[in-house]
Every structure is written in C-alpha cells, then in structure tokens.
Symmetry: C2
Amino acid sequence: MTQVKVGVMGVGNMGRSHASKLYNGEVKGAKLTAVCDLMKEKLKWVEENLGSDVQLFQDEDQFFKKAEVDALIIATPHYHHPKCAMKAFQQKLHVLLEKPAGVYTKNVREMNQMAEQSGLVFSMMYNQRTNPLFQKVRNLIQSGELGEIKRTNWIITDWYRSQSYYDSSEWRATWKGEGGGVLLNQSPHQLDLWQWTTGLMPKKVRGYMNYGKYHDIEVEDDVTAYVEYENGATGVFITSTGEAPGTNRYEIVGDRGKIVVENNKLMFHRLTQSEREFNATDQTGFGRPECWEIEVPIKGEATEHVGIMQNWVDAIRTGEELLAPGEEGIKGLEISNAIYLSSWLDETVELPINEDLFFEKLTERIAQSQQKKSAVNQSLDISQSF
Amino acid sequence: MTQVKVGVMGVGNMGRSHASKLYNGEVKGAKLTAVCDLMKEKLKWVEENLGSDVQLFQDEDQFFKKAEVDALIIATPHYHHPKCAMKAFQQKLHVLLEKPAGVYTKNVREMNQMAEQSGLVFSMMYNQRTNPLFQKVRNLIQSGELGEIKRTNWIITDWYRSQSYYDSSEWRATWKGEGGGVLLNQSPHQLDLWQWTTGLMPKKVRGYMNYGKYHDIEVEDDVTAYVEYENGATGVFITSTGEAPGTNRYEIVGDRGKIVVENNKLMFHRLTQSEREFNATDQTGFGRPECWEIEVPIKGEATEHVGIMQNWVDAIRTGEELLAPGEEGIKGLEISNAIYLSSWLDETVELPINEDLFFEKLTERIAQSQQKKSAVNQSLDISQSF
C-alpha cells in the first residue's frame, strides 16, 4: 500500500500529539484519516487543527464500522488498551499501542494471542527504545561485552508529581480508573528497558509499596522491589513520585565490569579480563582486576514517538523488523504485576505469576475504589489519556 | 595523668599499625607500654621494631595480671572483642575497641552495661567518623537542612576480594572463626555511618543474602537489605565482595532535597522550599520545586585511626567528648544482626531483634562450620586480626 491510512483512538495529550505528527507528515508513508474520542471538544480541536478530511467519531463502535483506516494508534486509558486492540485485530487493523500494554497480564496475554493469529503488525509505543544510549547498553550486554550479569539496580525516582497532578482527573491514581500509580503509569518505560537491555526477566520478585504516602491517592507513589534472576543475579528497582529532585541511575554489573547510566551518560567500567578468572588466579588477596573507565560515545538522537510510528508504518509497508513488537509489552507489565502482587500478599512471588490471583486481588481493589469526583464509564472514558 | 600507658591486644595487621603509631608518638599524651599476642613471631617483630621497653605477653591472663597499662586497644578477631573488653573493664582499663563491637548484640549489650557501670572511657575504632565529609553529611541532616528523611540508599560494593584473600587464614569467612562475611567484616563502617549520619535506626529489616556466591566460603559475600524506619522512610543497603569495579554511593533523600556521596564528593541538591509544602500548593501538575546543585566544600582531612586514638586519649586525660562512644558499636551491629536473622528466617524482622534467637541461629551455624585448614582455639587466636 502506498499510504497507510491511520486512525487514532483517544486524543488526550498523547493521542493529540501522535495525530498532529501524522497530520504534519512527520511519518512517511502514513496519513491520518480518522479520529475517535468520547469528548466533543477534543474532536472539535481535531477538526479545527488537523483539517476537515479527517473522519471524526464520538462512538467507538461506529469508528470500527465506518472509519476508513488500515491501522490504529491506541492512546486511551490503561484498562481500555487490550480490549480496544482486540477489536482492532478483529477489523484487520494493524495496531500501535500506548504503554502500558494493559493493567493485568491476563487480558494482555489474550490480546497477544489474537495479534499473533491475525498476522497484523502490532507494536508498542516504547519510544525510549529509540534512544541510542539504551540501544548501546543493550548491545554491550547482548554482545557479551559486559559478561554474565551479576546485579542490576535502577533508581528511577525522578517522576515527581505534586498533588495537583493527581487532582486533575477523576480517574487518575485510582484502582478503578487507572489500575495503579507510579509503577503502572510512570515506570513502564524503565520496566521495559530493564528487561530489554539485559535480556533477563526476574525469577523471583519481592515488592514493597507505599500507597498514598506522599499524595492523597489510593494507589502507590513509592516502590522498592528486590528481584532474583535465574542465573543467581539480583536486582533492585526503586521508583517514586514523591521525591525532589529525583534520581535516574541505572547500574548493571557483569563479569567484565559495570555499566552506569546517569545524566544521559553511558559509563562503561570495563575490566580487561573476566572477574571470575581473576578471582581464581589472583594471589594478592586485596588485588583488583584492571579496569578502564570509558564514557561510551552515543551516536544519533532518540527518534522517540515519531521513530516508533515510522518503524511501525515501515513494518506495515515493507516488512521492516519492529523495534518494539507489541507482544513484548507483556514483559514489563508482568514485572509490574509481580511487584503489586508481592506487596498485596506480603510475600515473595515467582514468575510467571498467578494471573488469576492477581486479577482477583486487583478486582477487590477496584470494587473498593474511591474515584475522586464522579463515577465515569471507564471503558468509554478515552478522552483523558496520557 | 601525664602520659596514658597504652597496651595493645593483638598485633595482626591492625594492631601492629596502632602499636607503631603509639610508639612513634603520633598520639599525644600516650605511650605504648605493653603488647599481647598469641604468636611469638609477632611479639618478636614488636621487640625488634618498637623498642625493648615494651612489655611482651603471649598469654592474655598474664597480660591482665602484670601489664603496666592504664588503657587497652583491642584488635583481636571479632568473637573475642566483648570478652576481652569486659576483662579490661574488670581491671579498670579504658578501652578502644576495633570494629565490629562483636559478632552478636547479646554479649555486646553485656559489655556496654559493664562499660557504663565502670565509668571508664570506652571508644570504638570508627575511624571513618573522623572523615569531615561524613561529619558534614551528619551536620546537614542533624541541623534540619535536609529536612525529614524519606529514603536512604547505600550501594557499597567496592569491597572486592579474590579467593586468595579468603584462603589466607583458616578462621576467615567461617561462622566459627569470624561469624560472618562482607556484612560483618567489611561493612561495619558503613552500617555505623548509615545510622550515625541519619540519626535513624531501622524499624523493620528484610535481608537477602547469598552465601559463598562468588567465593569458596560458607558465609555471605553478597547482601541486599531493605529497611523501613519509624517515620515511614525506606532504605536499601547493598554490599558485596564479588563485584569489580564496585560502587560506593550513598544517597539520602529528605523533604528539602537530596544528598549524594560518591567519589569522595558531597553533592547537596537543595530545594529552596519544603517539598511537602510545594506538593500542597503547586497547581501545575508537572511542576518541580526549585533545586540548587551544590558541591559542598569539605574542610580538613580524615584523621582516621590516629584521630580516634587521640580523641580517646584526650577523653581519658581531659574528659573530651568521644567522637565514637563504645556503646554506639551496638547500633551498626544490631542492623547487621537483623539482616542476618531476616535472611536465616526468610522473613522481615523488627528491631529490637530477638537476640536469643539470633544467638541460637548463629550457634547452629558455628556447630556446622567447616574451618578451612585446621581447628584453632578461636578465643586465643588473636594473632591474625585485621
């Protein structure tokens, strides 16, 4: 196909941004043809700013019946993601899904199965995978340069939000409306990069969460997770929206040195030999293997959302390989679900987690959820996505 | 008294260093008068290098009967510390004790009670307390400059040791000979500084330990601990002897900013207002409080072991306040014991811990301990201290 006709479901902050980029021709081989949103004023904004050629729908079912689209970008609230993607696959639409893949792996797994059967192009909006710095980290690990991993440690606490952020929408930071807090909303990129760069999923997870510690919210705003990997490596993941200024420091220790990512710099403390080998042969007791401090040069810029959209469109048109296959969205989400479940059960959980149990415990929280202003029909509330 | 007559119990690496400094007159108002060590060759070294005036004892009881000393520096293996200090108090000797205070808090508490009743000057060799950098960190916290603490995070993994270190002595890294690994031997300074700088002891502790992960030893060489404080703050302490190059990064987040100590630099990311106040008043959602990045100048040098010895001697002579009162040695040790106990029980423990249970569990490990070469009478093995 010459031009991929793209629809956008949900034109809140993110959806509007994606639609504008498509309309402005920033994605080659793609064209914005339709938009759907529950709120009239959002559609009006599209009409006034993105041209009268774009079909506008206020009703999702009408959109799926009548929109002239080959592909769909979904930028609705979290709970809506898998449901909407599955409807799109039924309509034979290619899908680009905003993060997180969903709120619970149980229905994300269904979505993935349907995606696989469909043969359609399914991608996740993991725009941080376009960052050449994290691509380089992944390369250093996957190529064996860092050696076998011993420990990972990500302190990602620079997600500061004040109370006014949480007060801006009734669905935000509620179990019913959003399904989680800092771990589900702010941290999916890091949870994905954590597993994507290392190529490792944790085997055991122990999560410690504080709910509404720094804000008047019912979900978590402070998380510490300890993990163990199959090979014996350990890891820590710390995130919060209540610390100022926060930290974003990712450290990965391997047999051949240490990688530290902080302040947009990639430092590689590279040993000139394997530590395990040094350990076995050194006779000095206090000796240390020779180490080179290298600031690894980073070439290119992160192409961010446009880069992911372009990659997805190219995959549709020419079969290019996806940088962020949609099916991989479940990985970061499974780590996330495991941290919640561990906190709720107050015990260590093993992966794969008991998905039914997670869903049951989440459902209990949804049932007791106190939305802040008025009840809304969440499945249709696709207007305030972010 | 004009000159404090000081004895040294155990002239392994550390004891020999302390004795030499005393002999060389590096500590004003003090004089080395006697030394005790189980090993003849160590005494011979003292005789040849530190003068013939120094009384030499190979037997501890003889030392306590006959040595002409007012005060004693104890630099023997860990298990011996409280026993030896208590004997010294009975003989009315002031005591300066090498770290750790002991292996288990149960008998360290007895030692502290005896010290208090004695009225003698009792100090711990916490030489890192003489570091003006950590004094400044403590000052920034204790003066309220950092505000109420939210989180502490110490990654102290630069204790690299190769197998040859552990093979150098039969008592090393055994439950029977040493009573622990990296947490008990290498990390006591950081465990002390962690509580001393913040003025906070954890309330709950969850320890994850790996025993003999990187070395052929029976004790731990890899530790991750998660803690919670009374005020709701959380913390993480990570240490290992198996990572090269390691990290030494201490981060403390408070209501008014963040302190980061790394590479001998003290960075204070100082907010111009309280974060709690900003949180309540900001209306922008994504706003962040103004923050100044300050590299805090550090005046003076760490006086290290000589500084602690001088402070202790001055306290004996003129009543000067101690920088590291002996009774405070139990604090870092209690955190240490809690981390072990949590790992052994595989559950979170609360402080104060059950000291009898800890001792019982330690005793089980001592009973099964496999010393590497030959059995030694540990209570007399004061020769290889470090």
